[in-house]
């Protein structure tokens, strides 16, 4: 987790305008600068502690054989982890993987094809199409739950695969934007060279544009995965068989159980977070570039 490259600093690769930034006020009034620097460091530590406080319970209780809701130094054990890696709890984690992988595949493939066409081809009404995509990425998806439940129930689709397809749609707009921005940056000359060698569109996509836009595609895929992995209300309502429910629903079930197993909740939640942290860590640079390129955020 600590290798997450997320710490805003004056000199960093990627987004920087080049060269270390010299902060105004430095070397000007050394005494005042020192006081200010100490104050800001102390303030930062205080805010950091406040942000850290809620997480302490999660870590301590996951290692505590006698965990409760309160924060105590753990009676060290790893049995909480082994206990939740069995039976229906393990099944829920497997379901989460199926749901997330399937949804990521669908969204990334469909997103890449559309992004390529929107980036390179002449398409009538391209402006309105892009606006539609941008707009769908901004609409809260909670509002789709009722109509989708009714549609899925009518056609008997309240299972894991249709839910994965819907989750793919929820991340599709942002994935299209992200990948399109990366394809826009791939020089067209390379593609024309491939065309002259009689490459067809499929070959251009897989051998030229795909590899060159890979950081963007990877970032988009990670976004899709994290989006599907963390989603709770969509599977809660759209998946009817309890054996197909993913981990977030299982976590929620822990709280409602007759005798709450605090240590298990913490251990399971922590394990559930780990893939997200790793993926974000891997992609934090790609993501940041994606956001900057996305046009939504320009400084």
């Amino acid at each position: 987790m600590s290798e997450v490259d997320v710490n805003p600093g004056p000199a960093r690769e990627g987004v920087d305008t080049g060269g270390p930034t010299i902060m105004p006020g430095e070397n000007r009034d050394t005494h005042r600068t020192t006081t200010r620097s100490i104050t800001s460091n102390v303030m930062l530590l205080a805010i950091g502690l406040l942000f850290l406080a809620p997480m302490v319970w999660l870590v301590f209780s996951s290692l505590d054989s006698q965990a409760t809701w309160s924060v105590e130094w753990p009676h060290f054990t790893l049995s909480n982890f082994s206990q939740v890696l069995t039976g229906s709890d393990l099944q829920a984690l497997v379901n989460s993987i199926i749901l997330a992988v399937l949804s990521t595949l669908i969204a990334t493939v469909a997103g890449m094809l559309a992004a390529y066409a929107l980036s390179r081809r002449r398409i009538p009404f391209k402006g309105p199409l892009l606006l539609f995509v941008l707009f769908t990425s901004g609409v809260p998806l909670t509002i789709l739950i009722v109509p989708l439940y009714q549609l899925f129930a009518t056609y008997g689709l309240l299972t894991i695969v249709p839910t994965a397809v819907f989750l793919a749609v929820t991340s599709l707009p942002f994935e299209i934007y992200l990948i399109k921005n990366f394809i826009d940056a791939v020089p067209e000359d390379l593609e024309e060279a491939a065309r002259l060698e009689q490459a067809n569109t499929f070959q251009v996509l897989t051998k030229v544009v795909g590899p060159l836009a890979l950081p963007g595609i990877a970032a988009a895929a990670i976004f899709g995965f994290v989006n599907a992995w963390g989603s709770f209300v969509v599977p809660l309502i759209l998946i009817s068989p309890s054996t197909q429910q993913p981990a977030p629903v299982a976590i929620y079930g822990f709280i409602g159980a007759a005798n709450v197993r605090y240590g298990d909740i913490a251990a399971y939640s922590l394990m559930f977070c780990v893939p997200v942290f790793i993926l974000y860590g891997l992609s934090s640079r790609l993501f940041r570039e994606g956001f900057v390129l996305g046009g939504a955020v320009k400084g």
Partner: protein, 308 residues
Amino acid sequence: MVSTAPLDTINGPHVSELWNTRNDRERFQWGSLALLTPAFALLVVLFLIPVGYAVYLGFTNLTLVGPTAVHWGFTGAQNLTRLRTDTTFIASLRLTAFFVVGSIIGVVVIGYGLASLLQRAQTWIRVIVGGVVVIAWMMPAITAGMTWYASTTAGGTFATLTGLNQSDFLSSQPLLIVTIANIWSQTGFAMLVIGAALRNIPSEILEAAIVENASPWQRFRLVTLPILRPTITAVVLLVALLSLANFSLIYVMTQGGPGNATNILPLYSYQQAFQFNNLAYGALIGNVMVLLAAFFGVLYVRVATRRS
């Protein structure tokens, strides 16, 4: 498959392209349609149609169980009349406004504060504090809700920290606590993008302001803030949309309670649809959210496309 080479290429146009009447721009290719179809078919079937269907459902008497679960139909403005006099709905609007506005203010102020403090902080502090805030942002909503539930319930971390050991903050100040939890889980994003924007401010501008003897407040108000404005606007709108749609975090922590104390629109819509079995009425409350989201969405699109 027809070649995509633009006609101004030095290699000259393909013979097939010479037949065409317009040679001054790239032609539409039917192959493009094949590329666009998967994505847009999905978006239309699972996004556009459900939104339209939701609008219709809002004006029906569909229920989850009972006779009207099967034999349901259009009932006109009946649900609208009910909505206008529904005190829980009106209270829910107020709760939603508090939750969304509170979250925006908290996220932007703390996110900016952190971003600017981190710029002049020592490296190890930057790594640790920045890391903790970003981890809070990355945490899936269900886990964030869990940790906040554990921390604010009776005997939890915050009760211990404040020395009021048996006080149950989540029961006594539910709306405030879920708003703080939401701020906690979104600040990392604001910190990252505002930090990136801050680093892109050319240092000469701030140096010039210092030479002109501008006070720190003047530098912030007259130099930094105008440059950051597009970024902050984008953050405000994204936080607004994400908070408006927030379901999981609050559902895990309070389920909208105690009573209706944290019953913001997404939760009330869910409650009506799936707990009180009024699918149609739940859809109508969802439609109100569509309108609110569309307002923010239009603003978002305008801001996002203004300079590109």
